[in-house]
Symmetry: C2
């Protein structure tokens, strides 16, 4: 084994998962990412897709995602203002994670889904 062998991480093998949750956790980030997966959206477009979120929260979450290098914020110098949000290339690599969550959610969280098949 090469000499990069064991770096002293303060926690051991569990951390990758924990770290991801710090990025896509929170109450809204996962859903925001989900909506940005295959679309570039403007601020209010995202907002409309998240019933219940406040402007403040949306701004917060988007800024944190931007700081994590996950989301790209494109500001157009127009009046009225226009800001578009999209995934960075790094953000796009999260697709498998989001998709896996989406799939599991559909199969396990929506009783109607399964009930519908048996109806």
């Amino acid at each position: 084994m090469p000499n990069i062998a064991h770096q002293r991480l303060d926690c051991t093998v569990g951390c990758p998962v924990e770290g991801v949750l710090e990025i896509i956790g929170g109450k809204w980030k996962g859903v925001i990412l989900y909506h940005l997966l295959d679309e570039t959206l403007r601020f209010n477009e995202i907002r409309r897709r998240l019933p219940g979120i406040t402007q403040r929260m949306l701004t917060n979450q988007l800024r944190e995602l931007e700081a994590s290098g996950i989301v790209f914020r494109q500001v157009y110098a127009e009046v009225p203002p226009k800001v578009e949000y999209s995934l960075t290339s790094k953000g796009k690599t999260l697709a498998p994670v989001i998709r896996a969550m989406e799939l599991w959610g559909r199969e396990n969280l929506l009783p109607q889904a399964e009930a519908a098949t048996s109806r």
Copy 2:
């Protein structure tokens, strides 16, 4: 005790993701699940794998996971007490989600990892 878990499905397509995050979100649940993926563990075994978690938190999180039908809690009538935690079949279906997160975490959260590959 009634499980009032996911009745908040008043939002539309984003919810699958949101619902999953309610289950594996929180500060510790994802990591707990990660450790239970391929092992049945006793209370203190899990605790040792999560540096920094308190007994209270661990108990809490495990109970919530149990209430979500994700974790099975096996109590042995012994002295001293012995309680084993494992994934239910439903819990095991979360594996792809956890694995996707683990993979992404390894590739994006540990700079050493990428540095190692480019060397």
